[in-house]
């Protein structure tokens, strides 16, 4: 079963047709590349970009904002740096593509991720994605952003 949850018209669903694969995979139709791989490949427009938690979104070349997919990496679910990266990409830089949470991605943090602008969630391999769906379905309290 797919580990990927996507938002479809604002509703979370399990996405069974994930077209993205790591660039190293043999059948990489749509490759996801690290920043270095992407730059070495000449910044192709049809790639997905995998950032690390200490990458600075504001230092990215302008072409990155046109990419269909940017993945942010949670080394551990308690490492909150990707929330700030997401916020900066979405709100400040106006990134409109798919913003994906990868790594230690667990059900109980999905609400926060969604509110920071993530649009898809690759649930950690040992967790049941069906179960994780409930993290976005049952409790959807919203943060009061309008001070």
């Amino acid at each position: 079963m797919s580990q990927l949850i996507s938002l479809l018209s604002g509703q979370p669903v399990i996405e069974n047709n994930d077209r993205w694969q790591p660039a190293s995979a043999s059948v990489a139709t749509l490759p996801v590349m690290s920043l270095e791989e992407w730059q070495n490949a000449g910044c192709p427009g049809n790639a997905g970009l995998q950032l690390q938690a200490n990458d600075d979104p504001e230092q990215l070349p302008a072409a990155a904002l046109q990419l269909p997919l940017i993945c942010l990496w949670f080394e551990r679910f308690t490492d909150g740096r990707a929330y700030s990266q997401a916020n900066i990409l979405r709100r400040r830089m106006g990134y409109r593509g798919d913003l994906r949470a990868c790594g230690d991605v667990l059900r109980d943090q999905l609400v926060m991720m969604e509110q920071c602008g993530f649009s898809s969630f690759l649930i950690r391999a040992d967790k049941n994605p069906q179960d994780a769906l409930q993290g976005l379905q049952r409790f959807r309290y919203r943060f009061r952003s309008d001070v």
């Binding site: 308690t78 909150g80 400040r92 109980d108 409790f139 009061r144 952003s145």
Partner: protein
């Protein structure tokens, strides 16, 4: 009091249901200890030495009478009939069953209370001083800002997994009674050009590396304060250390970069926020909406003739008025400080489990709630010294109030005195502590039970922490005591000269540590030395400041040399 609107209510209740679900999944084995840890911490739940501890938020230390009754119910029904008020104006219940926690939180939610973010690596309860809104030296009530920031920080999705905990305190008074200099962010609200402005101090904290915060911005307009804090938090979230828990507080980042470079980072971030149109700002309407709850028009008082008569008639009452009441900016009204630190004998305190400073029984809470309704606009405040305050008391009500407080053992006249000790719960409860602070506290209180002697020693603060984490704020106590372990034995290290306030200072260690039973004698020697050397009306801490620690140190080690030991390196 601020009243929840529909949004606040929905948020708090859905949070309770979410946690109910998380507890069930934890008990069913679907959540590991590691996964459950931050979830429970962000709902105020700790594992202590003997049981679960639940820390309930008391935003900026203000409670209604109904809320205090609700806390009393929780103490009776789910705990052992008492609660513990903390130095950050919250309350802790020490003997909680995990399975009861969702029900407790639901009960609290119905009284507009919660335990959200009372722990965890997130923005904690935003504190202020207990005399907010009534202090004579205050510019304006800082609590509307504290409430707006509470709402802003509550479940802010970007800042729930910071490198480490994050504490904010606000004061609007000339004298700082909220220890703002020891906070990650300290805010000082003041007036400039007829506008409210904030001095923003950043990078303070006690713990293993005690540091007082430094000025980041001198004059932030009130409407921009959430933006300033957001910029600080974003810089911290992105660049604060995550490799070592003991180096993860913002104070370490500020120290590593230097305050000027840190300021540049924050200014740059803030500029980006403005450029993109995403800098949060407080609107005048929002400030007005929130402020309404804190405005308490008081009736003009008739001249009171009884108060003066009772002062003359009853010396016990007069003494209590001297030490436990404070004048207010509202003429004719006073604030009463209720000591949670009676003589140990009055507390039913035992050696096996001594009562802690900050402990109140459910009966005391209920009685106090009724007194607040009768005399004090149904409002109770918690001080960072772990006492309680009833504000807006008409002078003529002081005598009957004092009598009722006495019946509940809540009229100990020791506010600001040596026995008004701040202490963490220590090894009797806390699994981090490496020493028992409560027996030491009780022993000091027993030795200094002569009220005239306490009056003569005058204003002095004594703070006791059971370990390096410094929950008893020993660094900023005029006398600080820190529990350390050496060869499986408890030792106590003594500092003097610490001070809170705008001119906060960290205390200096006087020398090798002592065993518990020597501590009361050490305190006696320190205070005797002060009484010998003081000039005119000089306080203990001013005397230490003038003379340095040498005369105190010499006196102590002359008297008690034998029981002192050199602390190990790890303990320094």
């Amino acid at each position: 009091m601020y009243q929840y609107n529909e949004y606040d209510e929905t948020l708090v209740l859905s949070r309770v249901e979410e946690f109910r679900d998380q507890v069930q999944r934890y008990l069913a084995g679907d959540l590991s200890d590691e996964e459950f840890l931050p979830l429970r911490l962000q709902n105020g739940l700790y594992k202590q030495r003997h049981a679960w501890m639940l820390r309930v938020a008391i935003p900026y230390g203000t409670l209604s009478a109904e809320q205090l009754r609700c806390l009393a119910q929780v103490a009776d029904r789910y705990d052992r009939g008492y609660g513990h008020f903390t130095t950050r104006q919250n309350i802790q219940f020490n003997w909680i069953e995990l399975t009861d926690v969702p029900d407790i939180l639901e009960r609290l939610a119905h009284q507009q209370m919660h335990a959200i973010q009372t722990s965890g690596n997130c923005v904690r309860n935003i504190t202020t001083e207990a005399f907010a809104g009534v202090a004579a030296d205050e510019y304006q009530d800082p609590r509307p800002y504290a409430e707006i920031l509470r709402q802003w920080a509550t479940l802010h999705p970007e800042f729930l997994f910071l490198p480490r905990k994050f504490k904010i305190a606000i004061t609007a008074a000339d004298e700082d009674r909220a220890v703002i200099r020891a906070h990650d962010i300290g805010l000082h609200l003041y007036e400039q050009d007829q506008e409210a402005r904030f001095r923003v101090l950043v990078g303070g904290g006690l713990g293993r590396t005690p540091i007082l915060n430094q000025s980041l911005f001198e004059a932030v307009h009130w409407r921009d304060i959430p933006a300033a804090i957001e910029a600080i938090l974003r810089v911290y979230n992105r660049y604060g250390r995550r490799d070592n828990k003991y180096k993860a507080r913002i104070k370490i980042l500020v120290k590593a970069l230097g305050i000027d470079a840190f300021r540049e980072e924050v200014q740059q971030e803030w500029q980006q926020m403005r450029n993109s149109g995403h800098a949060p700002a407080i609107s005048s309407e929002e400030l007005a909406r929130v402020s309404v709850g804190f405005e308490q028009p008081l009736p003009t008082l008739q001249p009171d003739l009884e108060y003066g008569a009772w002062l003359a008639r009853d010396s016990g009452f007069a003494r209590w008025c001297r030490s436990n009441t404070r004048s207010q900016k509202q003429q004719g009204y006073v604030s009463v400080v209720i000591s949670s630190k009676p003589h140990p004998a009055a507390h039913g305190s035992t050696d096996a489990l001594p009562a802690a400073p900050g402990d109140l029984t459910s009966q005391q809470m209920r009685q106090l709630a009724t007194m607040a309704e009768d005399y004090s606009n149904s409002e109770i405040r918690v001080t960072h010294e772990q006492n309680l305050v009833l504000a807006n008391i008409a002078q003529r009500d002081l005598y009957p109030l004092w009598q009722r407080l006495r019946q509940q053992q809540l009229a100990t006249p020791n506010i600001g005195q040596l026995t008004d000790i701040i202490a963490c719960p220590g090894g009797d409860y806390c699994s981090l502590a490496n020493s028992r602070t409560l027996p030491v506290t009780a022993a000091i209180q027993r030795l200094f039970d002569d009220q005239d002697q306490l009056d003569d020693i005058g204003t002095i603060s004594l703070n006791i922490s059971g370990c390096m984490n410094a929950c008893g704020h020993h660094h900023v106590g005029n006398i600080g005591i820190l529990g350390v372990t050496k060869q499986d034995q408890e030792w106590f290290q003594v500092t003097i000269g610490g001070q809170q306030g705008h001119n906060a200072r960290l205390g200096q260690i006087i020398g090798p540590a002592f065993q518990a039973d020597a501590i009361p004698g050490v305190i006696q020697t320190l205070t005797n030395t002060y009484r010998q050397h003081r000039q005119a009306r000089e306080s203990f801490v001013d005397c230490v400041q003038r003379l340095g620690i040498a005369p105190f140190k010499n006196a102590v080690y002359q008297n008690t040399g034998a029981s002192a030991e050199t602390p190990t390196e790890a303990n320094v």
